[in-house]
């Protein structure tokens, strides 16, 4: 179990290899990487800034990760979430799970990103193509996705 909140980019290959290094009972590693899209709600997005709540962020990510370990037989997991200014195509977040069984790895990974989306204190401000910034609205679809795991 490991959580990082950082401004720097990350190398997915290095992160996944570190999760499984020396462990030979892992059958599969599932990962999800979230990227900055150039379009959101129909307006062109130049870049965005991710604000967060230092202290609470780490705490919530650790809670979410611990909950995944309670629910699924995981051998390892990893969460990295960036903050600060990010441009289209940049990596925002990595969630990854390693389990003896692939279904557990998939479900736990999907759970991590769904819960993170509604429980980790991050806020996105988009720079609009026409100038100015806009706080991104929470999406109802994210609440529904998270509620599936209640």
């Amino acid at each position: 179990m490991s959580v990082s909140v950082q401004a720097e980019d990350f190398d997915v290959g290095v992160e996944l290899a570190a999760m499984t290094d020396g462990k030979v009972s892992i059958g599969g590693v599932c990962s999800f990487v979230g990227l900055v899209r150039d379009m959101n709600d129909g307006s062109g997005v130049g870049a965005m800034t991710l604000e967060h709540y230092p202290g609470m962020t780490e705490r919530m990510l650790e809670e979410i990760e611990a909950e995944a370990h309670r629910r699924w037989p995981l051998e390892a997991s990893r969460i990295i979430h960036r903050h600060g200014r990010l441009e289209p195509g940049d990596r925002i977040v990595l969630v990854a799970t390693a389990s003896p069984h692939r279904l557990a790895a998939f479900e736990a990974c999907h759970f991590l990103i769904d819960w993170l989306k509604t429980k980790a204190p991050f806020w996105k401000a988009e720079e609009l193509a026409e100038g100015g910034t806009r706080w991104v609205d929470a999406r109802q679809g994210d609440d529904e996705a998270a509620a599936k795991w209640q």
Binding site: M56, H81, V93, I113, K117, A120, R139
Partner: protein, 83 residues
């Protein structure tokens, strides 16, 4: 008491953090929010739609009913949009 604001609440209020003495007669986060709303136009604008404001007390999600005390860290922010 430390009070934190994030995202558009921070922008409307004009600060991300302030230290206050717990006002008399206030025992939960909802009462604190109502009291803050009367502090000025920025606060009023930030808290005008109370349903859109999330609350954390000591870095744990709470509600209007969550008790607050002198040494607590209370945060107000919009629904989260990370990931």
């Amino acid at each position: 008491m430390k009070v934190l604001y994030f995202a558009w609440l921070r922008q409307r209020i004009g600060t991300g953090e302030e230290t206050l003495d717990l006002p008399e007669g206030i025992s939960n986060a909802g009462e604190l929010m109502d009291w803050l709303k009367s502090k000025g136009p920025g606060y009023e604008q930030a808290f005008q739609n109370a349903d859109a404001v999330k609350i954390a007390v000591n870095q744990t999600f709470g509600s209007r009913e969550t008790p607050v005390a002198t040494n607590d860290e209370v945060a107000f922010f919009p629904p989260v949009t990370g990931g």
